[in-house]
């Protein structure tokens, strides 16, 4: 891009301050939806333990609560937080002020309203019936247009960046911002607006759920990891080439995975997809190696005191574990055992909670104080970290072991189905304890975000509105 548009050279503080308003919308919404998702998910879990719980209420069946919780988590929390992180990274790394930030904030509000309409629609019974795309059309259309606007606006800011060199984070976030509208529009068009026939729906659905994780949330989380971990450790990235290799491996194989081993579709689709899913451990290992080598051997040993650094480091570990386990499960024999069991759920949750959410938490804990000038409560942050990792380990571990057992018993026709479920429900009860810890941690996170907003608002009203109006005067105070 030699004919680069000349843009005013912004100071880093100015650039960061420009995205304050949108970030308040994105991260505030994310905190709200995170708590909503946890509560809905917890209600759903209780319903599995005691089937008569709330069973008189038409709107609270398990089949409505669980999708509502997943949609709130995927779109309300993870995507919203990812938009915010992307916007901030673009401004910060490119040293560019976001033009007309109120427009992005407005689009962010529209996104949140879309999620609200979608979750309410699912609970009201308007679900489309497609996994992770349950939101009805009246929610999907605003979601698409607001995401398209946010993505384009962020890319526009990226295009106008003053710092022309590209950091590793920028590859990931530019890619993800291009991929998300593509996969979301394709899936919405082919499933909700002009539905395809028969198993083509399942193929489009699997393609979408896989890509939403692999080509949207994963690159966004990696963008945060590749920026913050080396910065916080005050070490240069170990190898740019290894990062480049990992990036292209993810781009190359990421879009092909996701079809279950014994899907009722032409066999070549399953084979191609499983081969790609196995290959996905390569980008994960590349990221893991790069980060380990970046953090190791430096003059300064980075301690972990429950701060953003710990969240991001745990995210990298989860990513590698989830990718390697995913590669094993994608092979055909283990895949047949894992299909239809809690093991698949365990891996999805490890990826969403342990990896994506943890990376986003770390990023939010680091970004918000920088743009608002107010500080998070460290105690809450530390408590959130320990609750989140212990909760994730218990939740995912119990579901994974329970799923393996469930798969083994399902494969033995001599075991009555009732006993299969009884066995796996024991593990599910343990998993719920983990989920409860995660829920408490998430509440602390939301309280922390609200507390920061309050501190920030107090500052504005006390002083001359310096904090919430987009003035660069008091920024950069956090670091």
């Amino acid at each position: 891009m030699s004919a680069s548009p000349t843009s005013p050279q912004n100071s880093p503080a100015e650039a960061e301050a420009s995205c304050r308003l949108p970030l308040l919308v994105f991260f505030g919404g994310a905190a709200f939806w995170l708590v909503a998702a946890s509560l809905l998910g917890h209600l759903a879990s209780i319903k599995l333990h005691s089937p008569s719980f709330l069973s008189h209420c038409e709107h609270l069946t398990y089949g409505r609560l669980y999708p509502a919780a997943m949609n709130a988590l995927l779109y309300g929390f993870a995507s919203s937080a990812a938009f915010g992180v992307a916007l901030w990274l673009v401004a910060r790394l490119g040293r560019v002020a976001v033009p007309q930030p109120w427009l992005v904030a407005f689009a962010g509000k529209l996104w949140n309203l879309g999620v609200l309409a979608g979750v309410a629609g699912i609970i009201a019974g308007d679900s489309t019936g497609f996994e992770w795309l349950e939101m009805p059309r009246y929610a999907a259309v605003p979601l698409f247009f607001s995401s398209l606007f946010i993505a384009l606006w962020t890319l526009l800011a990226f295009h106008r960046r003053a710092e022309r060199g590209l950091a590793v984070s920028q590859w990931y976030l530019v890619a993800a911002l291009l991929w998300f509208p593509w996969i979301y529009s394709t899936a919405t068009m082919l499933l909700v607006c002009h539905p395809v026939r028969g198993v083509m729906q399942a193929i489009v659905g699997w393609w979408f759920t896989n890509n939403l994780q692999t080509l949207w949330l994963t690159p966004m989380a990696l963008a945060a990891i590749f920026h913050f971990l080396p910065t916080l450790a005050e070490r240069p990235l170990h190898s740019r080439y290894l990062a480049l290799f990992g990036f292209w491996m993810l781009a190359l194989f990421g879009g092909w995975a996701g079809i279950p081993a014994s899907a009722p579709v032409p066999a070549w689709i399953v084979s191609v997809s499983n081969a790609a899913a196995v290959m996905l451990f390569i980008p994960a290992l590349a990221v893991g190696l790069n980060i380990v080598n970046t953090l190791r051997g430096g003059p300064k040993i980075v301690g972990c005191a429950g701060g953003p650094f710990c969240f991001l480091r745990f995210a990298v570990m989860s990513y590698v574990v989830a990718a390697v386990a995913g590669a094993v499960v994608a092979a055909s024999a283990p895949g047949a055992v894992a299909q239809f069991t809690w093991l698949k759920t365990a891996l999805t949750h490890l990826n969403l909670y342990g990896f994506v959410a943890m990376a986003l938490f770390g990023a939010i804990y680091e970004i918000l104080p920088r743009v608002t000038g107010a500080d998070f409560c460290r105690k809450f942050m530390r408590a959130h970290f320990w609750l989140a990792i212990i909760g994730t380990v218990i939740h995912v571990g119990a579901l994974a072991i329970g799923g393996l057992k469930q798969g083994a018993l399902l494969g033995d026709a001599a075991v009555p189905f009732h006993n299969v479920i009884k066995t796996s429900l024991h593990f599910f009860r343990v998993a719920t304890i983990g989920e409860l810890l995660i829920l408490v941690g998430n509440l602390l996170f939301a309280l922390n975000v609200v507390g920061l907003f309050v501190k920030c608002a107090r500052k504005c009203c006390g002083a001359q509105m310096s904090c919430c109006a987009a003035e660069p005067a008091t920024t950069g105070g956090a670091k």
Binding site: L166, V174, V196, R197, W207, A251, G254, P264, F340, F417
Partner: protein
């Protein structure tokens, strides 16, 4: 170091590949799939669902039944039975060959399976030896696998089965049993309705929630005639707690419940297809799963 355009092109290209390979090509291959004519009966397969069953599918979708129930039968590698249809004129020689094929076969009788083997070539060779001796023998493909042994289907589920499903709700977890052929397994509407009203009336300790909101509970005097469409209580007489006193409660399914049950009854993909052969007639459902405690299905 400005790789901007290169990254943009690469990112565009990789997604275009995935989109082309996983969406466009499959759509070209199976997007235009049509119903086929069954060899055995000459009927078209599959047939579109009746209107009531389609309404039931909407109830199934709205309540998210697919969150717990899959609709897909999986199958292991098939085995091959060498079946003797007719002894022919030279019974002694046929018996001799049958014994050579399988020592444990015993006396060959018409309609008996002589041998079971996982290798199709061997089965064909054995059938040929019997045929050469004047008998009539055939090779029967028998689907195997835990799903089939549980009675969840006569054969593996294939793309053809789902042609008219809109939306397609395959499900991704088996928190409850697979429902691919629930229409064949539990044909009685009354069983389904009682099970929806309260699964624990039918199956002790069932983990399925009760869907009472799909029913109206209508109180009446004991000597008055039952409400129109009320469920027959003789099916659950042992487990249904009837209140003492002058009034009893009639359980009347709503239109939604009736539609949902019609949808469940329509789930029965047992037709033998070229890509998914099944023994004809399909084997009777094994009672291994959800054995009713109080009622016979």
């Amino acid at each position: 170091m400005n790789f901007g355009p290169l990254i943009f092109l690469g990112v565009f290209f990789t997604m275009a590949c995935s989109w082309f390979g996983m969406i466009v090509v499959p759509q070209l291959q199976i997007g235009g799939q049509q119903p086929v004519k069954l060899e055995a009966t000459g009927q078209m397969y599959p047939l579109p669902r009746a209107g009531l069953a389609q309404q039931g599918a909407a109830v199934y979708r709205a309540n998210g039944c697919a969150a717990c129930h899959s609709q897909q039968v999986r199958q292991g590698p098939p085995v091959f039975d060498v079946k003797l249809n007719d002894l022919g004129t030279n019974a002694a020689q046929v018996a001799d060959i049958a014994r050579k094929i399988n020592h444990a076969a015993g006396a060959p009788l018409p309609g008996k399976n002589i041998w079971r083997t996982p290798v199709k070539k061997d089965a064909d060779a054995a059938a040929k030896r019997l045929t050469d001796a004047g008998a009539k023998a055939a090779v029967v493909i028998v689907p195997t696998g835990a799903d089939i042994e549980r009675g969840w289907g006569a054969r593996v589920s294939v793309a053809q089965d789902y042609l008219y499903d809109q939306p397609l709700m395959l499900g991704s977890r088996r928190i409850g049993p697979d429902l691919a052929n629930i229409g064949a397994r539990k044909p009685g509407a009354d069983w389904q309705l009682w099970h929806l009203y309260n699964p624990r009336l039918i199956t002790d300790g069932s983990f399925m929630p009760a869907y009472r909101f799909l029913f109206n509970e209508v109180p009446r005097r004991k000597d008055a005639p039952p409400a129109l469409g009320a469920l027959d209580k003789t099916l659950v007489a042992k487990t249904f707690p009837e209140p003492a006193g002058e009034t009893v409660t009639d359980i009347v399914p709503t239109a939604e419940a009736v539609a949902l049950v019609a949808y469940l009854a329509s789930l029965n993909p047992d037709a033998p297809l070229f890509e998914a052969p099944a023994p004809v007639p399909p084997p009777p459902a094994a009672p291994a799963t959800n054995t009713p405690a109080a009622v016979k299905p």
